[in-house]
Amino acid sequence: MTASTATQPNRVDGAGRLTPANPVRFSFDGDTYHGLAGDTLASALLANDIHLVGRSFKYHRPRGILTAGPEEPNALVGIARGAARRQPNVRATVQEIHDGLDATSQNRWPSLTADVGEVNDWMSPVFAAGFYYKTFMWPKKAWDTVYEPIIRRAAGLGVAPDQPDPDRYAARYAHCDVLVCGGGAAGLSAALAAAESGASVIVCDERAAPGGALAFETDARIDGQDGHRWATETAAKLAAMDNVRVLPRTTAFGYYAQNFVALAERLTDHLDEPAPSMARERLWQVRAKRVVIATGAIERHMVFANNDRPGIMLASAARHYLNHYGVLIGRTVGVYTANDSAYAAAFDLKRAGADIAVIADIRDTVDPALLEEAGRLGIRVLTHHAVVAAGGKLRVSSIVVRPCRGGSRQVIPVDALIMSAGWTPSVHLFSQSRGKLRFDEDGRRFLPGEYAQDCASAGACNGAANLAATVEEGLAAGEAAAKAARPKATAKPLSIKAESGGSWDGLMLGAGPNPEAGKVVKAFVDFQNDVTEKDIRLAVREGFHSIEHVKRFTTNGMATDQGKLSNMHGLAIAAEALDRPIPEVGLTTFRAPYTPVTFGTIVGHGRGALFDPTRRTPMHESHERAGAVFEDVGQWKRPWYYPRAGEDMAAAVNRECVTVRKSVGMFDASTLGKIEVVGPDAAAFLHLIYTNPFMKLGVGRLRYGIMCREDGFIYDDGVVGRIAEDRFHVTTTTGGAPRVLNHMEDYLQTEFPEMKVWLTSTSEQWAVIALQGPKAAEVLAPFVGGLDLSKEALPFMSVAEGTFAGVPMRLFRMSFAGEDGFEINVPGDYGRAAWDALHDKVAEAGGCAYGTETMHVLRAEKGYIIVGQDTDGTVTPHDAGLSWAVGKAKDDFVGIRGLKRPDLAGGGRRQLVGLRSKDGSTVLDEGAQIVADPNQPPPMDMIGWVSSSYWSDNCGGPIAMALVEGGFDRMGETLYVPMPDGVVEVEVRDTNFWNPDAESDNG
C-alpha cells in the first residue's frame, strides 16, 4: 500500500460534504497519501482503503478504525510536526488532516503489518486477565531485574516526547449565564433558546463542525431543512450574536463544584502552518449559572469472536464516513446489529454502491418498514441471527453467521462489517457533577436521575427517543436555563419542528448470542486493553464481584477511551455471571477528564519564568550591578554574596564578614515580613500572640519576640517596634510573612474576636537596609533628618521616625550581627535610591554590601537562631535557649498550655548549644548527626544534630550550632559526628562565639 497518488479509491463521487477541489497531502508510516480538506486522519486513510492503523496494547492485535469520534479505542497514532512536536496516542478519528501531516502507527516493531509483539497474541491463553499477579515471582530477585523491564517495554502505546515543547498554551476564565456542552441538535437548540432569551451563552463542541449526529443522519429535517444544514446555519447565527460564544474543537472535560466546568480548546493542531504567535491549546475555566449537558450518545459494538479485525466498525461510523466525508468503507459489507439505526447505515452504504452481503439481526422481530426497505434494496436480512466470528487478520475477509440458538453456519465473504449494539447515553459530565444516575430498565441504560448542581440534560444523553424529542428537550432546557439565570428577562419561547426517518431502537448489552460457546475465541469488550468477555467472566469466577474490582482486575474501561464503548458491556457480562441485576452490580465512577487533555492545556501560561512569580526587592538592580550571586528564598531572589574579581563564595563571605565587624556593612533586609498592628488592643493582642510580655513596651522601643503555635513550639520570630500607644511595626521572617499574618488573623477572628485590632501587611511598603558595624552610625548620620543618633537619644533596641535624605524613615537601632547597627525602613519606591546613596558612603568608609550568607555567619557568631534552620517545629523557646523571652509573669499566650505538657516541660530535651570541631578546621555538615559513642553499630543512638555550621574568619575557625539532648548540661563534653569518611570530634560550648567576654550592650 504505497500508492502515492492523488486518487482515493474509496472516495465516492457526489457523496459527503467535502470539496474534491481541495486535496491535502499527508503521510502515514512514511508513505504519502491524499485526502480532502475537512477530512480527519481516519476518513482520509479510509478513503485510501487503509483500515489497519495500529496494534492493541497487550496482544498486539492488528487494529483498524472502529469509530468516527473521540470514543475511538483503536486508531491511535503518533503525530509529529518536527522533532520537538511529537504527540503520542492521537485519535485518528479526531485529528483533522492538514498539508504535511505526519502520522505514524504505534506499538509495533518492526512494522505495522509484521509486528513481533504478536507473540503475545499466540501466548494469550496464558496471558488471561490478571495473570501477572499469579506469576513472575520466582526467583525472588527477578521481578524488577528481568520480568518487569520486559513487561514495561511491551506495555505503553506511543512514545513520549523527549524534547521541550516549543508550543505555547493559553488560558481564559469566563462567566456566563448558560454553558451548553455539546453542539448537536439538542445543544444548538438549547443555545438558541437561551440566547434568544437574552442570556449570555457559551456553547462548545469537541468536533470541528457543529451538528453532532446530524453529520450522518441524512434523513433528519429541522425547521424545514436538512438537519446538518440547519446545524451549520444555527451555529453561524449564534456566533454572530453578541451574547453568544461558539467554541468549536472544544471539549468540556471536567465538571467541578458549583458549576465550574473546564473546557479544552484545540487551536492549531489542524492547521498547515500555525503562526508562531498562536497558542496550541487553550484552557477555559467557566463558571456558569446554569449548564445544559447535551453530549449525545455513543454507539456500542457487538461482542463476538475476532470482532476487532480491521474493517469492522460501528454502523454510525460507516455512515458518518460516507455521508459526511464521502468515503465508502468497503465494497462488500456485512451488517451485524441489535438496533434499528444500523439499517439506515446499510441503506446509505447500499445506495452509495456497496454490496450489503447480509444484515444479521439478533432480534426475532424487526420493524416491518425496515425489512421492506431492505427488500426493496435487495438486501438479505437474517433476523434472529448472530455473527459468531470474523475471518481475516489484517483485514476482515469473512463473517460466520448462525441462528442465535444454533443451526447451520454460513461463511460470508466481506471486506467490511458494520455493527450496532445500541446506544449508550453520554452521562459522563452529569456524573462528574455528582448527579445520581438511574437505571432505565426498558432501555437498559443509565440516565440522569437526581441532579446535584444547577444543570439539565437534553437530547440523546438524556435518553430522548428521537430527533423531535431531542430538539424539544434542547429548547426547553435552554429556555429554562436562561430564565433561571436571568429571572427578570423575558423569554422568547421558540418552537422548532424536527423529524427524522431514523429509529434508534433495539439493543444488546454484553456478549452477543453465541451458539458456539465453549470455543476458545477472543470476543473483545475493551479493544485497546484487549479485555475479552472471558476475562470478565474469569474475574467474576475469581471473586471480583464489585464492578470496580472487575475493572481493576481486567483493566476493562481503563484505556485511553476510558471505557466509552466497553463499560456497559463489561457491566452486563459481570451482572450476568453474578446473576444479579445490572444496577446492583453498579457502574464505575466517571472521572475527569472526559477525553485526555494535554498537561500543557492545564498548565497554560504557568511555565518557565511564569511557573511562580519572582519577587525582587526594590534594590534588586543595584545588587545585579554589583555582581551579586542570588539565592532563591521562597519566591524571593536575595543577594547571597557579592564576589569581587577572583573571589569564590568562601573568599567573598570571609571578606564580607570581616568587613562588617571591622568597619561597616549593609544588607538588603527588605524581604522581611512586616505587619502593621494597630488599634486600642494592639499591645494586648501582641501580648497574647508572642511569648514575650508586650504590655509595658514603651513607645519608641523595640523588642525581639518569639511566637509559638498552640503546641508550644516556635513558629516565628522577629523584632517588634512600638510606634505609638496603639501602633506596632511587627517584623517576621522572610518565609513567615504570609503565614504569620494568617496566624494572627486566625486568632483575631476566632479566639480574640472582642479585641479591637487591625492587621495590615506592609512587607512591600517598606524597603529595609540593615547597616551594621562599628562605623554604622558615622556612615548613617549625614543622611538622617530630625533625629539624634546618639546612644542616649536613640539607645539600642529603639525605634524613631525621621527622614533619610528627605524621605520618611522608620529607623530601628538593632542588630542581628551583634554590632552597633540600624535597620533603615524607607518607603519601597525610595529603596533603591537610598541603597545607592548609602552604598557610596559605606564604600568610602571601607565597608561593603553583604549577602544572606554573611548575614547567616554573623548571626551564628553571636548564636542567634534562624527559625526553620535552628528550629524545626519541635523546638520550644526554652530548647533554643530563649527562656528569657518567655514572660514569666504571663498567665496566657498562644502556646502556654502546650509548653506545660509533660514532654515539653520535662528533661532530656534537645537544646541549642555551640560546637567547636576539636581539630580546629573541620566545618561540620549542616544536618550531620551527633552521637556520644562513635563506636556503636547502626542503628546508632543519635543525641542531636548540627543545625548551623560555618567557617568564621572572625572567630578564627569553624563554628556550629546544634540541638543536643540535655545540651545545656553538657558544656565542655566531647561528642562525635560520624561522617562517611571518619568521625569528627566536637566540644560542646555556648553559642556566643564572637566576643563572648566583652560586655555586651548590643546583644
Binding site: N89, P125, V126, Y133, K134, T135, F136, M137, K140, W143, D144, R152, A155, V159, A160, P161, D162, D165, D167, G254, Y256, Q285, Q432, L538, R541, G543, H545, S546, R552, F553, M558, T560, R591, V597, T598, F599, I602, V603, G606, R607, F611, T614, D632, V633, G634, D716, T733, V867, G868, Q869, T871, D872, G873, D903, E926, G927, Q929, P939, M940, M942
Partner: protein, 417 residues
Amino acid sequence: MRRFSGFAVAREAMRAHKGWGRQWDSPEPRSSYDVIIVGAGGHGLATAYYLAKEHGITNVAVLEKGWLGGGNTGRNTTIIRSNYLYDESAGLYDHAVKLWEGLSQDLNYNVMYSPRGVMMLAHNVHDEQVLKRHIHANRLNGVDNEWLTPEQAGEYCPPLNISKGARYPVTGAALQRRGGTARHDAVAWGYARAASARGVHVIENCAVTGIRRSGNGQVTGVETTRGFIGAKKVGVVAAGHTSVLMEMADVRMPLESFPLQALVSEPVKPCFPCVVMSNSVHAYISQSDKGELVIGAGTDQYTSYSQTGGLHILKDTLEAICEMFPVFTRMKMLRSWGGIVDVTPDRSPIIARTPVPGLYVNCGWGTGGFKATPGSGHVFAHTIANDNPHPINEGFTLERFTTGRLIDEAAAAAVAH
C-alpha cells in the same frame, strides 16, 4: 488456597482458566469474632493476615463498607521509601520495606514491588539542609539514602530538567535506591486472599455504624449495616473516616481529613525510570508498568470528606511537573481522582491502644501510608494480640499529642528563613 505459579497459570491456560476459584471467600458474618478489623484497606487486611499468621488468631473478620481496597489503598501513587528522619519512623518504615522485599513470595501474590529508586529534589539551601539531615540520620540508622549532585540526578532520571536557568533549579537530590513502587490493588487482593486462606472473614458491603461497649466500658462488638456483630477486640483502620468511627466510641481523634488528588497520563513506552519527588516544587511522579505517568498532587486547602478536589490543585501539580520535566507538556492527563487522607498534627501515624479497653486504632497515615502497609499491619497485629505495642510502634501512641512527645516528620517541611 490454590497456589499461584507460572506452572499453575500454564496449566490453566490449557483449559481456558476454568479451574481458578475465588481468591477470597465472601462468607456471611458470624455472630461474633475474637477480633474485628474495621476497614478492608491494605492496613486492615494486613493486620488480619498477620493476626492469623503470626499470632494464630484466625477467628477474625475484616468489615468493609464498600469493596476491599477501594479506599486510599486503591487510590494512591504507591511510592515506597523508608528514608524518614526520626528513629521511630525510620524503624517503622524500614520494617515495612524489609517486608516488601519478600511480600510477593510470602503472600504468593505478585505485588510487583519494584525498587527502582526514589529521588527527592532540593531546589534551595533550605531543601539541602533538610535532605542532608535525613541522609545523615538515615546512614546512622542503617537506612540507605545518598546525596546526588544535579548532574548525577539528571543521569539517574534523564527527563529531569537540571538547567540552572529553571525557575527553581535543582541543586541536588537525595536518593534511596531501595525505594520504589508496588501495585496497590495487588497488595489489597494478596492480603485478602492470604488472610482468607487462613480462615479470616473478609466481609464487603458491611459498614460499621456503631461501636458497642459493656457497662465497664469494654468493647463488645460493632453495629453494622448487616446487624450487630460481637467482638472481644476491635481494630479501627479506616483512614480518612477514622474520626467518624472513633467518635462512635466517644474517642476524639487528633485528625483532620483532606481530599488528596492524583492523576495518570496516557500510557507511553518506558520514559521514566524512577520515582521523583519535590517538596519545594510540589509534585511527585513515577511511571507505572502499564506506561502511565502516575502523578501525585497536594491536599486541598480545606478539610472535606468529598473525594473530588478542585482543578486548580491539579493545575498547580502539573505546572510543577512541567517545570521539572518540560518534555511532558504534550503528555495527556487520562484520569484524575481523589482520596480522603487522615492527617495528624505531626504527620506520623497512630498505631495504638485507645482509652477504651478492647479498642485499637491504626490511622493518621495521611498522604504517605501505602509504603508502610506490611509493617503497619505487622505491628498492629502484635499490638492487638498482646494488648501491648510492638517495640517498633511503641512511640506511635495516641497520648503523644497530650504529652507532646511528637514524632514530627512535618519538621521536614519546616519554615524557611
